[in-house]
Amino acid sequence: MATELGTISFGPSSLRWGGSVNKIFLLSLANIRKSKGSAVSISIMFLISAMLLNIGLLIFVNFGSFFTKTTNELNTSNVYYLMSSSLYNDQVEAYINNNENVLNTQKEDSFWVSAQTKYNDNVRAGFFLLNDANKPRNMSKWKFIGAHLPTDEMSIYLPYLYQLDGGYKLNDEFEMILKEERFTFTIKGFIEDAYFSSAETGLLGLYLPHETYQKVTSELSDTNRATLIFANLKKVNKEVETGIKNLTQAEDLSSSSDFTNALFSLDLSLVKLSRIMMASIVSVMVIAFSAIISAVCLFAVRFRIGNSIEDDTTKIGALKAIGYTSGQIILSVVIQFISIAFVGSIIGILLSYLTTPALSDVFAQQSGLKWVQGFDLAISCISLFIILLIVTNVAAIAARRISKLNPIVALRGGITTHSFRKNHIPLSTAKGSLSIVLAIKSMLQNIKQSIMIGVIITAVTFASTFAVVMFYNTAIDNTAFAETPGLEISDIMTILKADTDPRQFIDNIRKMDDVRKAQFIDEAKVDIDNNSVSVYIMDDYSTKETNSVYEGRYPLHSNEIVIAGHFADMIDKTIGDRVTVKVGDTEDNYLITGLSQGANMGGMNASITRDGLLKLSPGFKQQTLQIYLNEGTNTGEYVKTIERLYDAQLLVTIDMDQQMQIGMGAYISIVSKIGVAILIVTIAVVILILYFVISSSVIRRKRELGIYKAIGFTTPQLMHQLSLSFLPPILLGVVIGSIIGITQTNAIMSVAQRSMGIMKASYIITPVYIALFGVCIVIISYLTSMLITSPIRKISAYAQVTE
């Protein structure tokens, strides 16, 4: 006996295990060939899912290890101390060399400057460390990225960031504007090192060939002379830094009046955290989105299996009749979808490697490091394994129905599978146009399919709402994005010289035209319960523009303190508890009145009143003035005016509007690009899922559509009617997805950014934009549906009634 099934024939030999396995594979292949369109669309969805999963895993696993590999390659020390050379003396040297916690060190003379440089079309102000490129280093080395050129007079090697994001290339001129000097260099190479490759962690390192170094530093004052000590510690802690501070009475760079009394220290773990933080967030976002797409794929697989069981009931009956077991038939279905997922996933995984150079560039904007990701067999296999494992399970569960099919019932076409129980919305009583009523009838008759579409659209709309929020908060209005890390949003920040009278100065500024407000917000390093913490100091927190306290309130009295939520978790303290704050040898207890968020010092920050700090540091003097201008005032011009009027009293004046845009640039660029990518993938998934469902629906309803045509329905009418039948679940999915997105995005971002010290994200949620995007999804869905239903045109009424 031989039974024809599609293009496969089954004979007695099929029943032998080896033969039947072969036949099962052929049967799976025949099924794929039979429904090429849906196989391709499911395969593309798996492609997207596998691509995203692999990208996410590559970043998650490898970006951190890449940083470690780079630091190993460059033999980066686990801490460095940078101080004014005037502070470094034999006593300090002896202290460091004799400290039991210090394993080995390398000392280097360099210069630190506060300067402005051109960065793209903007001017970037910041601290730079000028190093002699010809001085050999055994630890914390640097290396060239790409080609470098022979040097000439006034050559310079810049951090890789300047090539990637700053708009520079080899042989370009690079100008540094210092307070009293201006240097013009020619770029001869781009480099990377672990500590000074990004301004995110304090200073940017510039490397000058020896002759240039000599020439430039000869024109700098002694106040710029610095001593850089790289050290490997047995146990990385603040002990050595505190020891140096005690010996030298040095201040932090941020709070010192000039470089002469400043000390800056950084350990590698903090640098690593800063360099890989954005990559970690991105990887979590990408993996989460991949999970959503995978869920969509699995819905599609389940739907397809359900359909094919209904369509091929007779064939399944024939197989059972000739002796195939349910297990063997189920296996053929599982193999069919494993094959589809395998092909899609392999292509997706391979494509993911094409995206890594672009991602590397994006991350380099923040980290300043060039991440080169080659093919990673282990991660690729893990991505493939995860997807295939899930597909196998879902396909096996969906195909279980086959075992319940009685062969006789199946051979008769599965009468039990086609029973209409209810005539939804009788036409005799229904109101509205015929097309709409028929569309709703169709939707209700295919309720499982409608629910599936609704769930899928809910998931992708939620993802896209999240992306819209991220895009809006980065590309359109980045106020909340800037505020979320706890930054105060002022227009101008000035740092006063140590001898400037802050009261007099602030009074003068307040009297100026177009100054809306001026207030001091200083920052200092203190120890809280034996942890080094950056503390903000203000007279009156009620005048602060950015509210970073997400629980409780800002301190009102001198014995009150607000600590960052991240830090509070670390020391297991909360509102109402007391902490010991120490500056030098003076300490006092403070009551925690609130928990704040903020990425400063990796979430290790706090806020106290000026009176509160004065108890510990009576000599504290306010120096950092935030100036807020009236709307519409040209900040750049105002900075010049302030500099012109008060130059002698000021250490530095910074255009915060501009700095904010530059500083946020890397984050904004990354997040907005991810947002756009998610939006594009969302639209692609909506189109794919509609193609998949509608095309199979058109094929399955060929006879019905033929009858409609015979009785006088036109093709556009039927296309419209079928497209309309998919709109209600799409509309519902869009509404539910949007609501979840609107209400949950900040909650999700709070969890995702917790490690950054952001405990309560407050991104601007714009229902109008989200609604507009929802409308776009609905319109695109309708237009796509109309396009996909166009094969109805080829359905001939004549062919259907004469078949």
Partner: protein, 252 residues
Amino acid sequence: MSNIVLSTSKLCKTFSSGGIQQHVLKNLDIEIYDGDFTVIMGSSGAGKSTLLYALSGMDKPTLGTIRFLDTELTKLSNDKLAVFRRLNCGFIFQQMFLLDNMSILDNILVSGLLVSKDRKAVSARAKELLTQVGLDESIWRKFPAQLSGGEAQRAAIVRALINEPKIVFADEPTGSLNSTAGNTALDVLTEVNNKGQNIIMVTHDLKSARRGKRILYMRDGVIHGVCELGRYVSGDRARHDKLRSFLLEMGW
């Protein structure tokens, strides 16, 4: 003589398969008169159904023209032909082709509401017609799969008549029915024709053919003979004999 409702001129239909051409209709010139009950007979493969569906605008001829009153159907697009069908034609098929996922009443209304927006009037007419063909209210809410063949065919007839079409095309309407159900269906068609609607019916069945006023006998894609029977009168023996001898003459 009555007006011509439907006419063809040099109508040809050729099917091509695997490079082989099969000429199913060959230069047919036919005229269908208003109020006619035309029966198309012939052996299998003679081109009966092909002619029926070409005349109804459901299929397009290869050559020649089909004219319905002042409209040349062969010049219309598929969508315009669909509109033509909904306004002027009713169809009764051997397999009924009711929509499985709708109740019987909805099957009829879906056709009726395509032409008229007056839901109440269409609904009332559908119920009246259903009652006329012997389908009581207990049937209306049922699905096609829950009906007997005769009941389903009567429902299909009601669907064909709901828009009071100018012409009802019937393709073997009794082919899958038992004798009683077949007679009922034919009675309905006769009554409809008596009220002035045109019927064009393809059949193999002598009993069905007897209902026609004019018999067109096809062979090899051409009209081989025509027999004028006149208005159907039940029990008219002479009419029966005339048809019989015509068919014998045609080699049926």
